[in-house]
């Protein structure tokens, strides 16, 4: 016997028990696979939506034949529904600002003249990018017609041009969303929110379940130490978390073709840390809560700010300073930056460190609180 020290054999015992119980708990197991799949389908649907007939304003300063066929081509793509023809820039801005239209297409005064000269006139497409997924397909459609639509009309005029070169220089301005959140950015968000939600919730229930079933009394009457019980309960869920993450990453790759610029091992290391931090929080919640309901309430109390203030819902830099300060305390905020960095920018660990340590610090703090409030007796 090694006095009051931590015992590896006891710890393994707790681990084995948790694994067996998890294996037999169909509902939780279903949740583990079900929640990511459900959320992916929901978001995947959002990513894949190809909204058409988007309200569009056309301000054409050059009512010529090319303008007319360009606008006709625009409508033929099916993405644009011309609802307004503002005369001035201010009027057009107003339409966009109020959300009356999703796009403003501005055709410059010298459009026809420059086309005839064989130059590529500038065409400005301003998009309300607050819903980035709605915009991207439409924008690429504009680019395509710029390449093809006018070539028929121009065939006679510019016979000397054998291959279709871009006839129009399409300039796209995404407004109201300086970070330009795109479909790709949603995958890190889905990863982060699913992990936060399921990890905190599942471990949050782990200890309160023992208490409600009366088995906590048995556990307490054995010499098992709080740290052994807490960490022993965390480890199986780490595996679950990694399983979820892998599911999401595979879907991201094959369904949504999200690029993977950085190192996969680095990505997994980050996720491991994030998972552990959330599990620690869940265990701590369940030490604090009296029953499963309270534990669930705490989870949602934590989940809401995580969603709202982490930069998942709103661009982080667009938030007021106090909200950013709060957001910086949340692991999800740093996780989003880290995952976007690794997946989309190919960042490596040294540059990521500034966002790694806050997650680690959060975890240590939470475990300390959990151990402090772990009930060593039934009082």
């Amino acid at each position: 016997m090694n006095g009051n020290g931590v015992s590896l054999s006891r710890w393994i015992g707790i681990l084995v028990k948790e694994f067996i119980q998890l294996k037999r708990d169909r509902l939780t197991f279903g949740m583990i696979v079900g929640i990511p799949v459900l959320q992916l389908i929901l978001f995947g649907y959002a990513i894949n939506t190809d909204p058409r007939n988007l309200p569009t304003a056309v301000r054409d300063a050059d009512p010529g034949i090319f303008t007319r066929s360009f606008v006709a081509a625009l409508e033929n793509t099916g993405y644009f529904r011309i609802v307004s023809r503002p005369a001035t820039e201010a009027e057009a801005d107003g339409l966009l600002a109020r959300g009356d239209v999703q796009f403003v297409v501005t055709i410059p005064a010298d459009f026809t003249r420059r086309l005839m000269r064989g130059e590529a006139p500038e065409l400005l497409v301003e998009a309300d990018a607050t819903d980035p997924t709605a915009v991207s397909n439409a924008v690429s459609a504009v680019q395509k017609i710029a390449l093809t639509a006018l070539s028929r009309d121009l065939a006679g005029v510019r016979a000397r041009t054998p291959t279709p070169t871009p006839t129009v220089d399409v300039r796209v301005h995404r407004r109201y969303n300086p970070e330009g959140v795109t479909a790709y950015n949603i995958v890190p968000g889905v990863l982060g929110t699913i992990l936060t939600m399921t990890m905190v919730l599942m471990t949050g229930l782990a200890m309160t379940r023992e208490r409600e079933r009366g088995t906590f009394e048995n556990l307490l009457s054995t010499p098992a130490l709080p740290i052994e019980v807490m960490t022993g309960k965390i480890v199986p869920y780490i595996m679950i978390g990694l399983l979820q993450v892998t599911l999401i990453l595979l879907a991201a790759r094959w369904l949504f073709h999200v690029p993977m610029e950085g190192n996969l091992a680095v990505l997994y290391a980050i996720m491991l840390l994030f998972i552990a931090a959330n599990l620690a929080l869940g265990i701590t919640f369940s030490s604090l809560a009296r029953n499963q309901l309270q534990s669930m309430q705490m989870t949602f109390f934590f989940f809401l700010p995580s969603i709202l203030l982490s930069g998942f819902m709103f661009p982080f830099r667009g938030m007021p300073e106090w909200a950013q300060t709060l957001g910086n305390l949340l692991p999800l905020t740093h996780f989003l930056v880290l995952v976007r960095g690794v997946m989309l920018k190919g960042s490596a660990l040294p540059e990521l460190w500034v966002h790694v340590w806050p997650i680690a610090a959060f975890m240590v703090a939470v475990i300390a609180i959990g151990l402090r409030f772990y009930r060593r007796t039934l009082d």
């Binding site: 016997m1 006891r10 084995v16 028990k17 067996i20 048995n218 009457s221 039934l378």
Partner: protein, 312 residues
């Protein structure tokens, strides 16, 4: 690291426990010797479970002091947990683990040497060899009790704290259980066992009766009966229900209890009781007889006294 040698397995003084305003255990003073089976009786809610939990470190007493197996009940709860086997009143093993998995887990928690063998032996001793892979939650009440007992004895504790271990268990299983307990006591193990069964109380070396958090009587069954100074009569014959009603109205009659064709009448004052019996024995078909009061009569009397004497 062995427990310090001391004659008493349990030796506590003046333990108190409040839950909020409720004074649940009052000045509990208790000595249980090694090799002794100590019965713990009392109505539901009297504080037995709370007392047992204080003894094994699951609840911290508000005040008082004492030792379990020589370890301080307030400071050395870790050591106590390692040496004591505690069987909870409610089944508290994991219903979603099999019999073998439950025993294996418990054995791991206590660091039982040669674990696999100990678990196998325990299963064989239970006679559950062919059902070892059945989920504990699917066992019947009696089997759950036996499994719990096997689990809390896996690490060969020197002191067993058993909280209503035979509640809902059939008579044969109860008898087997008590034979086993006596076997263990014979090996020097101390057993504190709470129960509601009088026949079980009589199989204990000594017992204590608790009511509203206070120990009202302690000692051997004979001592407890003697100290109550009760007098009792038994009547056989017809029309006992009417007789019972008449007797209850008489002064000096404290308890009237019917057992099938027999009525037991008990009181403290022998003369008053005798008078009541004389006055009621008009029917010649009813035959009267002096008897020794039973433990149950004594406990009910203790409870009534305490309830009457209580300032309200």
């Amino acid at each position: 690291m062995n427990a310090p040698e001391s004659a008493a397995a349990i030796d506590v003084h003046g333990l108190n426990k409040h839950f909020g305003d409720k004074h649940v255990v009052r000045d509990l003073t208790l000595q249980v010797r090694r090799g002794e089976i100590y019965g713990f009786l009392g109505p539901n809610g009297s504080g037995k479970t709370t007392s047992i939990r204080m003894l094994c470190g699951l609840l911290t007493p508000d005040n008082g002091s004492g030792t379990c197996l020589g370890f301080d009940v307030i400071r050395e709860t870790y050591e106590i947990k390692r040496e004591v086997g505690y069987m909870t009143q409610r089944f508290s093993l994991w219903e979603d683990l099999t019999i073998r998995e439950n025993l294996d887990f418990v054995a791991r928690m206590y660091g039982v040497a040669a674990r696999a063998r100990a678990v196998r032996d325990a299963i064989d001793a239970l006679g559950l060899g062919d059902r070892r892979d059945q989920l504990a939650g699917q066992l019947s009440g009696g089997w759950k009790q036996r499994l719990s007992l096997a689990a809390c004895m896996l690490h060969r504790p020197q002191l067993l704290l058993l909280d209503e271990p035979t509640a809902g268990v059939d008579p044969k299983a109860r008898r087997d259980f008590w034979d086993q307990i006596h076997g263990l006591a014979g090996q020097g193990i101390a057993v504190l066992v709470s129960t509601h069964y009088m026949d079980e109380a009589e199989r204990c070396h000594r017992l204590a009766y608790m009511f509203e958090g206070r120990l009202l009587a302690t000692g051997t069954a004979a001592e407890v009966v003697a100290s109550a100074c009760l007098v009792a009569w038994a009547v056989n014959g017809p029309d006992l229900a009417a007789l019972a009603a008449a007797l209850r109205a008489r002064p000096g009659v404290l308890q009237v209890t019917q057992f099938g064709g027999t009525l037991h009448v008990a009181g403290r004052d022998a003369a008053l009781l005798e008078a009541a019996v004389q006055a009621s024995s008009a029917d010649p078909r009813q035959r009267w007889q002096r008897i020794e009061p039973g433990l149950e009569d004594v406990f009910i009397d203790l409870m009534q006294n305490a309830a009457n004497g209580r300032p309200s």
